[in-house]
């Protein structure tokens, strides 16, 4: 089974988002970068599948040159090779992103690659567009199941479950297919020192993608109004307990 996983480099903003000058991006100078939890699960699932069924896992990202870090992280937990579609690091809309990924997949296939399964996160952690995977599936005429949280794969088909309020919806499709997955699908492994070193030597193919005209154009980012509460401090340590009890009573959580 050959799996292609698509991931996105995003900042990890901690407790507060700050905007960079121009309001087009988050101020990231002091931040670390990561891939979203959904995508971590996608990478882990790809690695488990090839461990079980053989084949190879390729990880692809569209982003700035620095996104190499996220490809290396993914290779450190078991992906075999990387594809970096290098941009200037500005915001690409979901349709532009999908079109560039489709072009890269077609190019890889022209060079002899064959993918049986394509894995995406259900939505990116930052922009949250909920559509890149679906657009890629449409362009490549692949069956697509979104929001997958349980997966059983065989050599030629997959059984996937999606969680809804009352339980699970079960889907079954033949391969090749495209799935968008959610955190909770598995527990991603941590890389070892050795696997981190090994990942440095794995191959990455770089190219500059074509960019379609924009459809959903980012004009400006802004912060939502803050709730502006300042907590009423009830005390320190055990000494706070009497005030906590009073508050629980005031809120009707404890019977007075």
């Amino acid at each position: 089974m050959n799996v292609l996983v698509c991931v996105k480099r995003v900042p990890d903003p901690g407790a507060r988002i700050e905007l960079a000058a121009g309001d087009q991006a988050i101020e990231t100078r002091k931040l670390g970068f990561t891939i979203g939890p959904h995508e971590e699960c996608a990478v882990e699932e790809a690695v488990r599948l090839i461990e079980k069924l053989g084949g190879s896992a390729t990880v692809l990202t569209l982003g700035p040159a620095d996104a190499e870090e996220q490809l290396r992280d993914s290779m450190a937990v078991g992906a075999d090779r990387g594809i970096l579609l290098e941009t200037e690091g500005d915001d690409w809309d979901p349709a532009q992103t999908a079109a560039a990924i489709v072009a890269a997949i077609r190019a890889a296939e022209r060079q002899g690659s064959r993918f049986d399964l394509f894995l995406f996160g259900n939505e990116s952690a930052d922009a949250g567009g909920f559509q890149v995977g679906i657009r890629v599936a449409q362009a490549l005429d692949l069956p697509c199941i979104t929001g997958v949280k349980r997966l059983e794969a065989q050599a030629n088909k997959v059984l996937a479950r999606r969680e809804i309020a009352t339980g699970w919806e079960v889907y079954e499709v033949g391969l090749p297919a495209l799935l968008t997955v959610r955190e909770g699908l598995n527990s991603p492994r941590h890389p070892s020192f050795r696997s981190l070193m090994a990942a440095r030597k794995k191959p990455i193919e770089r190219s500059r993608p074509e960019r379609d005209p924009v459809g959903l154009e980012l004009l400006r980012l802004r912060l939502p109004p803050d709730r502006g509460t300042s907590a009423e401090m009830l005390g320190e340590g055990k000494a706070a307990v009497p005030r906590v009890i009073e508050v629980l009573k005031e809120l009707g959580v404890l019977q007075a």
Binding site: F130, L216, T229
Partner: protein, 323 residues
């Protein structure tokens, strides 16, 4: 005309869908356009009655012998065909799993832009929406360069309002042309789960724990407090990543969104990805030993202290009161 996608999940219209209808109606009024609706599900109760009270003037009921359960490709193709015929200027849905999926598929089929999780809009050409990024911790103003743009409406972006003077909604049947292949992705089975205990999403009190809890065992005091208060137990991503809690109990951007009367957050720092999952809480009591923890700035009540000291003392006191 503005077209709203109605979702029932087999019940009469979900609250999120009613919110999306209110949003769509305000958009329609602002644009001077009528509001119409498209519905797929057969068991959606008194659909015309409800939709009429929300200002819908025409309902397109999609009928096809094979559309008995959810099949996203077939639903999207049917909606795309309806759009070709009815020519809406905007298409909206609630930003639910299904709403996002169907509109994204239509966007892909028809090569249109789609904006997920919108909370507002501004008239003009091109139209501009305000949408959520980072689960609502950041807002984006974006222009939509095609007609009709597709929007999903973020949960709680507007409050549901019915209209005062209602008109009769006409009901029309729409029969899409679908092939076997359009049903290659469909629900083949459903499995119901019956979660034990109090559900996180509906609990009126939630006790949450993070890295500060220290271990799976450490959660026992949280469970004890929860059982005394009839509360559900949840955790931060650190708690679920460490296996102290299951992912189903995670609160945050990639976990559950909770909205209890009281959220008691123990040993959690208050990262935005956690906060977006609990910002709907009416009250937040933070217990953290670091008085500089960012969570205190977004809480209503705070206790500075070691949770493993504070919680046992609190539990003892509640027990004493209860007996």
């Amino acid at each position: 005309m503005i077209l709203a996608f109605i979702e029932g999940e087999r019940n009469p219209i979900s609250p999120l869908c009613l919110q999306a209808l209110t949003f769509a109606r305000e958009l329609a009024a602002g644009q001077g356009m009528p509001l119409e609706a498209v519905a797929f599900e057969r068991e959606a109760g008194d659909l015309p009655g409800v939709l009429q009270r929300h200002g819908v003037s025409r309902i397109h009921r999609v009928e096809h012998p094979r559309l008995d359960d959810y099949a996203p490709e077939a639903w999207a193709k049917a909606l795309a065909q309806l759009m070709d015929r009815a020519r809406p200027q905007f298409v909206l849905a609630a930003a639910t799993d299904r709403g996002n999926e169907i509109l994204a598929r239509v966007a892909a089929v028809k090569n249109l832009p789609m904006a997920a999780n919108c909370i507002g809009w501004a008239p003009g050409s091109p139209p501009v929406v305000v949408r959520q990024r980072w689960g609502g911790s950041l807002l984006e103003e974006a222009a939509l360069h095609a007609v009709p743009p597709l929007l999903t409406v973020a949960p709680h972006a507007v409050e549901v309002r019915e209209i005062e003077t209602q008109m009769e909604a006409s009901l029309e049947t729409f029969s899409p042309v679908l092939e076997e292949k359009d049903f290659r992705v469909r629900v083949v089975a459903r499995e119901e789960t019956h979660p034990e205990g109090v559900s996180l999403r509906t609990a009126s009190v939630v006790v949450g724990g993070g890295r500060g809890v220290g271990s799976a065992d450490g959660f026992r005091v949280l469970e004890e407090l929860a059982s005394l208060l009839g509360a559900a137990v949840g955790g931060s991503r650190v708690a679920t990543n460490n296996g102290w809690r299951t992912h189903a109990q995670q609160i945050g951007l990639t976990g559950n969104r909770i909205a209890p009367d009281l959220y008691i957050a123990c040993g959690i720092s208050g990262a935005i990805q956690h906060y977006v999952g609990c910002k709907g809480s009416k009250n937040i009591l933070v217990i953290n030993q670091d008085r500089e923890a960012p969570f205190f700035r977004r809480a209503t009540h705070g206790v500075v202290g070691d949770l493993h000291e504070v919680l046992p003392a609190l539990i003892e006191e509640i027990r004493r009161i209860k007996t």
